[in-house]
């Protein structure tokens, strides 16, 4: 990157380090941090939405909807994340391709499963085999977001389900006494109040989600842990201009700092959010705020 980097063998100390840390492969590493943050930015709201829908379904008055909601919560929570990521994503991808295959290639007569192979017509491939690599990567990334949303949505659903039940019964009864319909009392009384009960559980889920991002590599997405392992590994002088020994410890130390810093930052934000949500609530924290202000 710098002009003096043309011949790394002659460099020493900080100059060598500055060249080393700005190689193309290191930029892939830095870019991976962006990928992880982007994943969190997309997966967290989608998981929250899944959780909200799951909780609504689980307390629905319509029995089949309730079964779906409860089934979703218990099944997904019970399956180990790693198994889910290995099995579910491949199955989801094959399900999409199978659907496209049925629509796009009705004249195709060969079986889709031949021994170990999964074969759909070329036009049904997702993304198409001819698509540039960035499309494959984006597709894989979105599949990952969806999987994270489904897995963490189940945990969020359970938290929100519990939070909805934690809203004092008296509040709901008052709403009914005012003549609100079930829908009105749900949206106007229960939902605004339940967040404060849901927050501790949701913050747990968020912390676990941050730490679960290395599962990305199972899906073929190169995340920061993959790059730390790759860059920290021994490099011999034959295949690299910057040979070094086993430096994985330093790279993982950098990841440790990143994850600790990020979770610390989250804690601060969540604490503020908690204070904001407690305002005017019929909880101990809300009561304490009222007294302090009075």
């Amino acid at each position: 990157m710098f002009s003096y980097c043309t011949d790394p063998e002659t460099l020493t100390g900080l100059r060598w380090l500055s060249c080393y840390l700005t190689t193309g492969v290191h930029f892939s590493f830095y870019w991976a941090f962006g990928k992880v943050l982007l994943l969190l930015a997309l997966a967290a709201p989608s998981a929250l939405l899944m959780g909200f829908l799951g909780a609504m379904a689980a307390r629905s008055l319509i029995a089949p909807l309730r079964w779906i909601g409860k089934g979703y919560i218990s099944v997904v929570r019970g399956v180990p994340d790693v198994a889910f990521f290995l099995f579910f994503v491949i199955a989801l991808d094959q399900f999409f391709e199978w659907g496209r295959h049925k629509i796009k290639c009705p004249e195709w007569t060969d079986p889709i499963r031949q021994g170990n192979d999964f074969l759909v017509c070329p036009a049904a491939k997702l993304p198409l085999g001819t698509a540039p690599e960035w499309q494959h990567e984006t597709y894989g990334f979105l599949l990952a977001v969806l999987t994270f949303a489904i897995v963490f949505g189940a945990f969020a659903a359970n938290v929100i389900f519990g939070a909805m039940r934690a809203v004092p019964r008296a509040q709901m009864e008052t709403a009914e006494a005012y003549g609100m319909t079930r829908r009105q009392s749900f949206w106007r009384v229960m939902v605004p109040q339940m967040w404060v009960y849901a927050l501790p559980g949701l913050s747990n889920t968020w912390m676990v989600l941050i730490k679960a991002t290395p599962l990305l590599f199972l899906l073929g997405i190169e995340d920061i842990v993959y790059w730390a392992r790759e860059l920290g590994g021994t490099k011999t002088a034959r295949f690299s201009d910057y040979p070094h020994g086993d430096w994985r410890m330093w790279y993982f130390l950098a990841l440790l700092v990143f994850y600790l810093g990020f979770t610390r930052f989250s804690e601060v934000v969540l604490r503020r959010l908690n204070a904001r949500l407690s305002r005017g609530q019929a909880t101990a924290a809300g009561e304490a705020q009222r007294k302090a202000n009075a």
Partner: protein, 245 residues
């Protein structure tokens, strides 16, 4: 109205299909690990590099294919091939009967080569000690059959690190992989006898892809014939590496 939508849909699908059929014969996605120098590795610029990269690109030119390289974890490299995420594997994968049951192989592009033990001292016990090897490799299978205790790791790098930090007595891997490491590290040395394993390294593909297999076989055979393959082997694995007669 409904009918015209359907017609439009069919027309679109057909054009897409036709355009696709034309170009599809051309594009092949190659899966590799990117952590097994000199076979395949990530260079300083962050690109896939190594013997298989150079060989694969040449094969694609000869077989008139457009190739795209994809990185994949070793553990899931075969499942992702059969489910169609890429079309062929070039990842230093030795041809073995067990793998041949699940996927297909072209003829080998490196001759059957030796696996070797590398250790930190001369007097390690290869028969009863702890030997590190990468998961799901022929070397791991070989150790598992013998009397030594097998210690498996997901990446080749970790198997060598295990010997350095004393967790394992020796590492058992392809000699081609170990040579550069032993040459540059005073603390590592080859011990015991080399073991010939496997049927050489070949291109892995889905069993249903017979046409592609034929094309690649022809391309590999032509490279063996005109000696370009031997030149590449010597370039990446050194003068002592086994070449084709």
């Amino acid at each position: 109205m409904m009918k015209s939508i359907l017609t439009l849909g069919t027309a679109l699908a057909m054009t897409a299909g036709a355009a696709f059929a034309e170009s599809h014969a051309m594009t092949v996605r190659i899966g590799t690990e990117g952590a097994y120098a000199p076979f395949n590795f990530i260079n300083d610029a962050g690109e896939i590099d190594g013997f298989e990269k150079e060989l694969g690109d040449e094969l694609c030119v000869r077989a008139e294919l457009t190739c795209e390289w994809v990185k994949n974890d070793w553990d899931s490299i075969i499942p992702n091939l059969v489910s169609g995420n890429y079309d062929i594997i070039m990842a230093g994968m030795s041809i073995t009967p067990e793998r041949d049951e699940v996927i297909d192989f072209t003829q080998n592009y490196t001759p059957p080569s030796d696996s070797a033990f590398a250790a930190a001292s001369e007097d390690v016990d290869l028969e009863g000690g702890v030997i590190a090897a990468q998961t799901a490799t022929i070397q791991a299978a070989h150790i598992a059959e013998g009397g030594a205790t097998l210690l498996e790791f997901a990446t080749p790098e970790e198997t060598v690190a295990a010997v350095r930090n004393g967790e394992a007595d020796a590492v058992f891997a392809d000699k081609d992989y170990l040579v550069p490491l032993v040459e540059e590290n005073a603390e590592l040395m080859f011990v015991g006898d080399d073991v010939p394993l496997g049927g050489g390294v070949g291109v892995g593909l889905r069993e249903s892809d017979t046409e592609l297999k034929e094309k690649l076989d022809t391309a590999i055979a032509s490279m063996k014939e005109d000696g370009t393959l031997n030149t590449m082997i010597t370039k990446w694995f050194g003068e002592d590496a086994k070449t084709y007669e």
